[in-house]
Symmetry: C3
Subunit: 184 residues, 3 copies
C-alpha cells in the first residue's frame, strides 16, 4: 500500500471542541468555499486509496447512501496510532487518530464519488476506541473525527454518531471509524 504524504498540522482546534457549534454557525460564506479549498486550508492532502487485500471493499453505494468500511489511523501504509487509549495512547493522540481515520474515509468517499462536492450529508460516524478498562473519554476521542467532518463540510458535516470503547482493534490500532454518507 502506498499513501501520499499527509501533512497533519493539528492546530489547537481539537482542544477548542467546546466551541464546535460556532464552526457551523459561521455559516454563510463558509458554504461558498470549494471543499478542496477547505481541505487545503486545513493542511490536508487526501491519501491515495488502495483496494483492500481482503474480501471486502472500501465503499458500497446503495440508493443515495454510501457505506464506508471501518477506517484505521493509517498513514503511508502504516498504522501510526497503536495501542489502548488511556494506557498506551493519550487523549490528544487518540483525537488525532480519529481525525486520521476520518481523513482516510474522505479519501475513500472521494474515490467512490469522484468528488467530495457530491456529498450531500455525512449521515453517521461509528467510532470504535481501543480502550483501557477505565478510559471513559470515547466521546472526546470521537470529536477528532466529528470536528473534521464539520470543518470540511460545514452543516452538511454534522452527523449522528455512536462512540464506544472496544477491547481490541485490527492491527492494535487505537481507533476505527466507519462512515455512512448521503450523496447528492
Amino acid at each position: 500500500m502506498r499513501f501520499t504524504l499527509i501533512i497533519v498540522l493539528l492546530p489547537a482546534v481539537l482542544a477548542l471542541c467546546q466551541g464546535c457549534e460556532s464552526v457551523s454557525s459561521g455559516g454563510g460564506s463558509f458554504s461558498k468555499k470549494a471543499i478542496n479549498v477547505r481541505l487545503s486550508e486545513l493542511g490536508i492532502t487526501l491519501p491515495k486509496v488502495t483496494t483492500p487485500v481482503a474480501a471486502y471493499v472500501n465503499t458500497v453505494e446503495s440508493g443515495n447512501l454510501i457505506f464506508v468500511s471501518g477506517q484505521l489511523p493509517i498513514r503511508e501504509g502504516k498504522v501510526v496510532f497503536i495501542g489502548k487509549v488511556g494506557r498506551d495512547i493519550e487523549l490528544s493522540q487518540a483525537q488525532e487518530a480519529a481525525r486520521l481515520c476520518a481523513i482516510n474515509a474522505l479519501a475513500a468517499i472521494e474515490a467512490q464519488l469522484g468528488s467530495l462536492e457530491k456529498v450531500r450529508r455525512i449521515v453517521r460516524l461509528e467510532v470504535f476506541v481501543n480502550s483501557a478498562a477505565d478510559f471513559t473519554g470515547q466521546s472526546q476521542v470521537a470529536n477528532g473525527a466529528s470536528l473534521l467532518m464539520q470543518q470540511v463540510f460545514g452543516d452538511a458535516g454534522r452527523h449522528a454518531r455512536m462512540a464506544v470503547g472496544v477491547a481490541q482493534l485490527p492491527l492494535n490500532a487505537a481507533v476505527e471509524v466507519a462512515v455512512i454518507v448521503e450523496k447528492k
Copy 2:
C-alpha cells in the same frame, strides 16, 4: 443539560420477557391507541432533548431513515447507570438502563419528526453493553430497550438488533443504544 423528570415505574414487565411475543399478538385494539396514550400508560414522560455540545447531532434524516445517535442512560442531565454490567451493575438494573437509553432515543425521534405517530417502523437497535469480562447476558440487557419499543409501537416496534459487550462506554455508562427508524 436539563431533562424533565421521567417517572420510570418499571413493572415486572422486563422479567416477563419470555412472553414478549404476546405483546405484539395482543394486536387489534393495540394499534388504535395513540402513542402518547401508550407512553402515559407506561408511566413515561419523554425528556426534553438538548443539542449535543460536541460536533454531532442527535438525529440525521436520510431518505425515509432516521439515524439516532448513541443514547446513554441519562436522566436530568446525569448518567444514572454507571459501571460494568456483571460487576458494578446487575442484570435488572442494566435492563432499566437500556430502557432509559431507548426512552431518550424516543425523545430524540419525537424532536426530529414532531410526533412519534410519524414513525413507520423501528428498523434497528444497536445495543452496546459495558460488560465485565465474564458477563454474557447482553441479549437480556438489550431486551430492556427492545421491549419498550414493542410496548410503544406494537408490531411497528419490532426491529432487527445487534447486542455486544464493549470494554467501556462514554462517561462509564452501563449501556449505549443507537437506533435506526423508518418514518412514514
Copy 3:
C-alpha cells in the same frame, strides 16, 4: 430452536485469503450459476430459521435495504464456537465461526426474501470478535464471513465492512455478525 444439519467442510479456502481477489475476477461463468448450486458446491445447507424468542426479529426490510440482526455461530440451536479468540479459540476456528454466522445470516435473508436470487448486493458486514486483550487479528477473523459472501454472490457479495474486538458477546459466542443487504 432447531436447525437442520449444516455440513461445513471448510476447505483450505480460508487460508488462501490473500488470493481473494481472484474469486471475483473469476467472473464470467460464475455469475451464471444459480445461488443454490453454488451453496451446494460449497457443501452448505442453510439452516431452518426460527423466530427469536426475545422482543426483536431476524430481519427488517426498509426500502431496498434489509437489516439482518446480529447472528451468532449457532448450529442446531447451540453456540458452537465459544470463548475469546486468541485465548480460548484460535484464528482458524474463529474464521469458521464467522463463516457460520454468515451462513445463518443467509438463512435469515432467504427467509425474508423467499430466495437468495433476490439479493442485489451485500452492502455491509459488521463483525464483532470476542477478543482476548492482545488479539489483533479481527480482520482475518472477519474474512471468514466476507469470503463466504463472495463465494456465494460473486461481485455482488463484496461489501463494506467493519471488524472490531469486543469484550464479550451474548452466550460467550466467539463472533457475532450483522449484515445489511440490498434487494433487487
